[in-house]
Symmetry: C2
Subunit: 257 residues, 2 copies
DNA sequence: CGCTGTCTGTGCAATAGTGCACAATTGCTC
DNA sequence: GAGCAATTGTGCACTATTGCACAGACAGCG
């Protein structure tokens, strides 16, 4: 049905970690969709009927909008994971909105099918349990990050995260959008980016941010990026290691929920 | 072995929701422990070998400590839930620290035993899936809350949450501790509480905060308290309804992950 | 080329929160 | 009922961030 799925790599690390019959079980159930920026995968209150696996450079996010219309990103998911009922186990109403941040291909799987496949395969159960643990870790770290860290550090963290997912130095994003995701004023974010640029860490262009000096940017960013990455490595390192390698681990004491 | 467990109510709403053979399955596996404030249930990096069910007025929290020694609470759990591997499904290293905030009895269950019981009972699986979805909702909302809402509102939210769990107007907590949980300076929190007191919402006493005007406090608090409560009601309302009632729902559009 | 809409840069006043020092108060213990 | 340790109150200077207004720059399009 979908030709791309018979080739070896789907472009999603979770799926590409599958082998043998687990692969056979899941792959035929996937539907490939090209998603535009801003496309809503599900709204708060909806029953989430499908899971999306960002493939290649596409990125989706969970966002929360307040009564006053301000928004923040509460989780980001790229080709390292999946979004929609992964943590909340499907069949329950979504609490947040899911939006496509970086356009691109997404592999879509009905929640119901995933549940069945998990019921049939311990490997799948294990894989998704591990991923949702990592996603949770990311979210927990964000609670702390938003409470404690100044915008400049959080901005640097966010840029690192997106770069990891895109695998490119050029990040296609506007100040406006990034400000929304961080939950700050656009005009202040512009100043913050200016500051990062003056420190030679990034270059700011219309509609994109270019990473110039990744190591220095890691230095500038809060510890959150590294802490989450380490948890991914601990919990999913072996899995990802088998296919692509998302994670370049810096040796450090493991941090763990 | 533990006499209290044969009586009808454990003081934990999740456990008290159980009936018949599910109850019989789980109850004998519980160990009652009296926990002191500050007691650490598990540390980051540890394999979480047991789940704790706060009973009655006891409250535990997940907290994250940064490199610079600042801490924040990332989740709170009282008698409405359980802590430790509930979301992260056990057998994976904890990402955050779990600490007892309000001393009291906790029912403890080995993670392994819970997994076995869940394997044997669809009702248990359903119950814990629902609870972890709610806990996740709470955490997601906190990401947004910490990014967007000023301390006064967050402080009011936190007080409401603790009052719900304790079921009392008198909250035994110091400014120091609360400031840590909110991730702000103690001296600033003192001023914030002063302000709430001047608005007749609370009374501040040494080592405790007394709620004077709950409705007005709900008005002052950010929407986060209500949003999370509504999700609990949607997802677990029927369950809790069967035993105690944690949740006094205000009619409103449901918000949902 | 020139227009137009989007995106970015910047000025300025105001509020929120930090960081620290130290005084005042309270509850408890002996 | 004095003393001690923990807790709370407050002053002050400083930084972070908001909120808003508006000018300037860029990219694509006809």
């Amino acid at each position: 049905m979908i030709p791309a799925l018979d080739t070896l790599f789907s472009g999603n690390l979770l799926l590409d970690a599958l082998r043998g019959k687990d692969r056979v079980l899941l792959m035929p159930l996937l539907e490939l969709r090209e998603c535009r920026r801003g496309e809503v995968l599900f709204e708060p209150g909806e029953d989430v009927s499908f899971i999306s696996f960002p493939s290649g450079p596409s990125v989706a996010a969970l966002v929360i909008t307040t009564q006053h219309g301000r928004t923040v990103e509460v989780a980001t998911v790229g080709h390292e994971g999946a979004i929609g009922g992964v943590v909340s186990q499907g069949s329950l109403p979504a609490f947040s909105r899911a939006v496509v941040q970086i356009a691109g291909p997404m592999l879509r799987l009905e929640t119901q099918r995933l549940q069945e496949a998990k019921a049939a395969s311990p490997v799948l159960r294990n894989l998704f349990t591990r991923y949702s643990d990592c996603l949770l870790a990311q979210i927990l770290q964000s609670v702390a990050c938003n409470a404690l860290h100044p915008i400049e550090e959080r901005c640097a963290r966010w840029i690192l995260g997106l770069q990891d997912r895109l695998g490119s130095d050029m990040l296609p994003i506007t100040h406006e959008l990034l400000a929304d995701l961080l939950g700050v004023q656009r005009s202040y974010l512009t100043r913050t980016l200016k500051s990062l640029q003056q420190q030679q860490l990034v270059q700011v262009r219309r509609g994109r941010i270019i990473v110039c000096n990744r190591p220095a940017l890691e230095e500038k960013a809060c510890e959150c990026h590294g802490a989450v990455k380490r948890h991914f490595e601990t919990v999913l390192g072996a899995v990802y290691g088998a296919s692509g390698t998302l994670i370049a681990l810096r040796p450090a004491a493991s941090q763990a929920v």
